[in-house]
Amino acid sequence: MSELAIRRGAAPALAVEGLSYSYPHASTRALEDVSLEVAPGEFVLLAGRSASGKSTLLKAACGLVPHFHGGEIEGEVRVADLDALATGPGELAAAVGYLAQDPETQVVSTTVAAEIELPLEMRGDAPTDRARAVEEVALALAIPHLLDRATDTLSGGELQRVALAAALVTRPRLILLDEPTSQLDPVAGDELIWLLRRLNEEWGVAVLLAEHRLERCLAAADRVVAMEAGAVGFDGVPADFLEWSHRNDPALSTPAARLFSLAGLTPLPVGVRDARQTLRGTGVAHPPHIASRRVRDPRPQAPVLESKGLWVELDQGEEAKDVLRGIDLQLRPGERVALMGRNGAGKSTFLRTAAGLHQPVAGKIAVDSIALLTQNPGDYLVRERVGDELPGEQGLGALRTVGLEHAIDVDPRDLSGGERQRLALAITLAGRMEGEQPPGVVALDEPTRGMDRARKDNLVALIERLAASVAFPHQEYGKATRGTAVVVATHDVEFASEFAERVVLLGDGVVIADGPMAEILSGGWYFATEVARVLDLPGVVTPEQGAAALKGEAG
């Protein structure tokens, strides 16, 4: 087929037929007889639990599988009528762009302009053509001000946009994105999704987007493909997907759909606007108002963490920057606190300062005893046996606290993602516990990156147990009398609504809101749950609360 025909979109952007694939030395297949087609200009959402084959399918569509990763492959993959199994990723780059989850390893040049220009330079485009293409894609993604910046000075969100620009600069017919919002705050995440939608509508770029937080992007999608154990479990429009997930895999359901399902309303909504329209149509547009109940502090105990006028300055390149600016905060035993805010607001810095990794330049922070788990649990795992990481009684006690004492002889690499995270937490807890009692503060920094909902539910259960300092059901301990304050820095609003009783919102290094979770997460727009945005009722943030409000049971 001629290049002109491909440009005009005569061929499907992606056609996969009977694709099966297994990674080298793998005992099971990552993809099993997958067939699907993405039409030119279509926006397709790829849903599914962790390890269901989403990433592998995206890699097959851009040629990395099998050309880069090797392995055994059967079937056919065609991208804009190019045979992806016969054509290498470099040649396919003219027809398909790929954006992986970690933006750090997706930039290979020193400056932003050079990074975006690289694919054009590699295929030998003339300098004038390259200059125009770079300028246009920078304007489309609103990053012309970044062009002269060094790539190692960019934030995660900026890096993600630059990587997207490098993927789009060849004007591909298809763009593949693997959880691009997992490291972004709600504002940047929403911006990216709607940017993709705009590119999709204005440039006609077909989009295949793999994502866990479906509530963010379902409304933007034309179609949903749900993967189950390497095979296509569902392929249809978003509204039908919600019905399917409700019946077959509720973990893939969105909060608004769960709200409607619990309230007995149909059809299940694909987004906030859809939900509001349905509510208006059914005459329950104004559910009874639930008075926001001020939570009186039930714990008059002494704080386990207290910061007063805390200023922290970090040298992030050419010059030092104030990351925290006069933070006053107290955490009390047993509190479950979500620390939220945009990328760069100072969440991680606050936790790291509490753990002693940074020194304040002014003010003070006093902590009873703290165990901090940073963003990459793998960084804590350096030995080949769980028992070697956590020797002795203290190690065993920490393992019991996270429910992993049965895995003492296992290689950490053989644990699931959630278990590895719990093991890393146990490593931070070991020796900081008084008997079976966890330390005064347990802090988790962005623990839900790349997690599906099932794993998030397990994490919520663990946080609640730590805060209450109670044992796992099969264990005998649980005589603790004092709860642990659990503070979690997170971008995930829905996760925060599941575990937190208090939310502290940071903005540019200062506390801009601090209060009961239901109040904070229902009082904004970006930092609000989907249910809060649908119902717009103070204090109503979860599907259960929303359903109760719709049924008129609360109040």
Binding site: Q106, R123, E319, K321, D379, Y380, T428, A430
Partner: protein
């Protein structure tokens, strides 16, 4: 935290010049340092490299280069003083030392060590300025048609170095955050973990290079960049410095002897040579209106906003540090 030697994009003449011109210019200064041993010329070469770096806006790189270079120079002075007993002016007799034997510290050995040290210091500062001012991507891409595999390897390594440094920082933090009851992280397991992580990262970076089309045949003719208007200036200065250096060698500008006694030539040839080399440091001077720094001081850069925000707040970190010091002093 970024390395002080990391390339910072700016709109100065040295940064805008083609890699060939910048390499020729800074290479000429380094060549003088290696060709000459006269301390006056070597000091002039070091000063030229420093001046070039400061005019190009690479203050951090120059500072770090000077720190490293002068430390190395000091080490060379000490080592040479201990291992060389030649020279007529004995300053100290330190007796017999294991391995070194009889150690007599002479003024001549110290000055000879200083001469070697100045060569090292001038070269290190010049390399620091090169590192901070010459875009490595442009160098690698210029090399790609000539040596594709080497350029690919260098690209991979140049990207992996900052990624591995970030990984090492994270691993250090994780080691510091381990509970006292967890097994201590030895250097061995930590190094193994870093290596394993780096290999994973290398695969990801290599995949990105593959997707960007690095495996395609290197384009040649259509890929040439337009030359910078500053290229001629740097080539001319480089040629002038090299020609003067070679001529100076024949005219006795490098008149310098350390053993058996010190003789430093300070004749017209040496002074002219030192002046030419020193003045070559002015080559990165910008003529036009003060160029806007693209990265560090641009209106969209975080640094610029921070400064603005600080002005609005009426204070900066150093002010608070002073306050804190006063508080500590009171305590």
């Amino acid at each position: 935290m970024r390395s002080p030697f990391a390339y910072v994009p700016r709109r100065g003449p040295l940064q805008l010049a083609s890699p060939g011109a910048a390499v020729a210019y800074l290479g000429a200064i380094v060549a003088v340092a290696f060709l000459y041993s006269n301390p006056l010329v070597l000091v002039a070469a070091g000063a030229a490299a420093t001046l070039a770096g400061l005019l190009a806006g690479a203050r951090r790189a120059v500072r770090a280069g000077l720190r490293l270079g002068l430390s190395l120079a000091l080490l060379m002075v000490v080592v040479n003083a201990l291992v060389t007993s030649r020279g007529e002016t004995v300053l100290a007799r330190l007796g017999d030392w294991p391995l070194l034997g009889r150690v007599d510290v002479t003024l001549e050995a110290i000055v000879a060590g200083l001469s070697y040290g100045l060569v090292a210091a001038a070269s290190i500062v010049a390399f620091a300025v090169y590192s901070a001012c010459v875009d490595p991507d442009r160098v690698l891409r210029a090399l790609r048609p000539l040596a594709g595999r080497s350029a690919l390897t260098a690209t991979l390594v140049s990207r992996l170095v900052p990624v591995a440094a970030a990984d090492a920082g994270r691993l250090r933090d994780a080691a510091a955050l381990r509970g006292p009851g967890a097994a201590a992280v030895g250097k061995g397991p930590l190094a193994r973990r870093l290596l394993a992580g780096s290999l994973d990262r290398a695969v990801d970076v290599a995949a990105t290079l593959e997707l960007r089309g690095y495996s395609l045949d290197a384009p040649r003719a259509r890929n040439r960049r337009a030359r910078s208007r500053y290229d001629r200036r740097f080539y001319a200065v480089a040629a002038l410095v090299l020609v003067t250096a070679i001529a100076g060698k024949f005219l006795g500008a490098d008149d310098f002897q350390t053993y058996p006694s010190i003789e430093i030539g300070l004749g017209p040839a040496t002074i002219t040579m030192a002046a030419v080399v020193l003045l070559s440091g002015l080559a990165p001077l910008s003529h036009g209106p003060k160029s806007r720094t693209a990265n560090a001081d641009g209106p969209n850069s975080p640094t610029w906003r921070d400064k603005s925000a600080r002005r609005q707040r009426g204070g900066d970190g150093s002010a608070r540090r002073r306050v804190r010091r006063r508080e500590v002093a009171r305590v």
